[in-house]
């Protein structure tokens, strides 16, 4: 069991980050901190995906002169590229909303906002 944890320690680290991110979103009061928690969660998932594609002793999947040997899988890297763009988009929209909320309510603390509703 411990053996399995050690071989897949990259995956375990992603899961820990994922849970930390979720904790931040739920427990923190400030909207920007919640957004950062979301970013941490997203990073955790991306690092999980990239870790899936690693090959022991593998080269980056770029062909060309001088490139030899087993290649790490190119698929996860493409997936993560798309994922990063999606994360950036979500963050941009969230920041836009936070800007508007701040302009109109003067605060970005969740408990104060809840009182205002």
């Amino acid at each position: 069991m411990l053996e399995a944890v050690w071989t897949n320690v990259d995956y375990v680290a992603s899961v820990v980050l994922f849970c930390i991110g979720l904790y931040i979103i739920i427990a923190k009061n400030n909207l920007i901190k919640k957004l950062l928690g979301l970013n941490i969660m997203e990073t955790a998932v991306f690092s999980f995906i990239v870790a899936l594609g690693v090959l022991d002793g593998g080269e980056p999947p770029i062909m060309g002169e001088g490139a030899t040997g087993p290649y790490s899988s190119p698929i996860p890297q493409a997936l993560v590229l798309t994922g990063i763009v999606v994360a950036v988009s979500t963050t941009a929209l969230a920041l836009g909303l936070i800007i508007r909320i701040y302009r109109q309510c003067g605060t970005i603390e969740a408990d104060e906002l809840r009182e205002m509703e």
């Binding site: 897949n8 320690v9 899961v15 060309g64 763009v85 800007i99 109109q104």
Partner: protein, 249 residues
Amino acid sequence: MKNAFVTALLVLMAIPLLIGVTALPPHGSADAPMHTHVSARYVERGEEEAGAANLVTGVLLNYRSLDTVGEVTVIFTALVAVLGVLISFPAAPKPPDAAGAAGTARATDHAAPTQPQVSPVVGFVVRLLAPFIALFTIYVIVHGHVSPGGGFQGGAILGGLFIALTTVLGENRTRCLLPRRGAPWMRGAALLAFVAAGVIGAVLTGYFLGYPAETNHLATELMLLGIEIGIGLGGAAIFATIFLQMEEE
């Protein structure tokens, strides 16, 4: 108290996650289904089939092109969302106690900064490096299919360059990079480039977004390049617009 409860809940949630994740095929092993199935074919035949030496670009733009179409649409969605949420009445500044405010202070600095307060060191360095960064961006975009790089990467660098220049030089001087008539076209450049390439591909190969990689290498290269440039330009325009819109308020 609430924090302790949340922590307990998350530890509870983490347990099945950890059990599941440690039971995955061992990390890095060469006979995981990950490396022996679809990936193996991409590695083996990717260079001729996809027409790009950078296999990641081959996957992004050829094998899984529809994903990239979706990705380009997502970034455009972010742009439209930010514009749709942030664009305000183009009216004169309202009196301090206008109806609808929660009574607390609104952000008051509406004056567009004509001369932003940046340190002269920062200003000098940015102005010095800007042309080189721009050159680097062109390199990254154009070399996307033979070395690490590509449309998005170049677009992000170019967008970042625009943001740095706007911070240093002031909005009035960098606005000329996004002309009013051309800006909507620039923002949509990515998806338009994709659809154009897709239609060309349909004409050449009979499948939408098909590339004639094995028969007509030049056409494939041009299509890939066109898409990369479109993505780069579109991405940069989108980042620039989002930044300007957020700064405007």
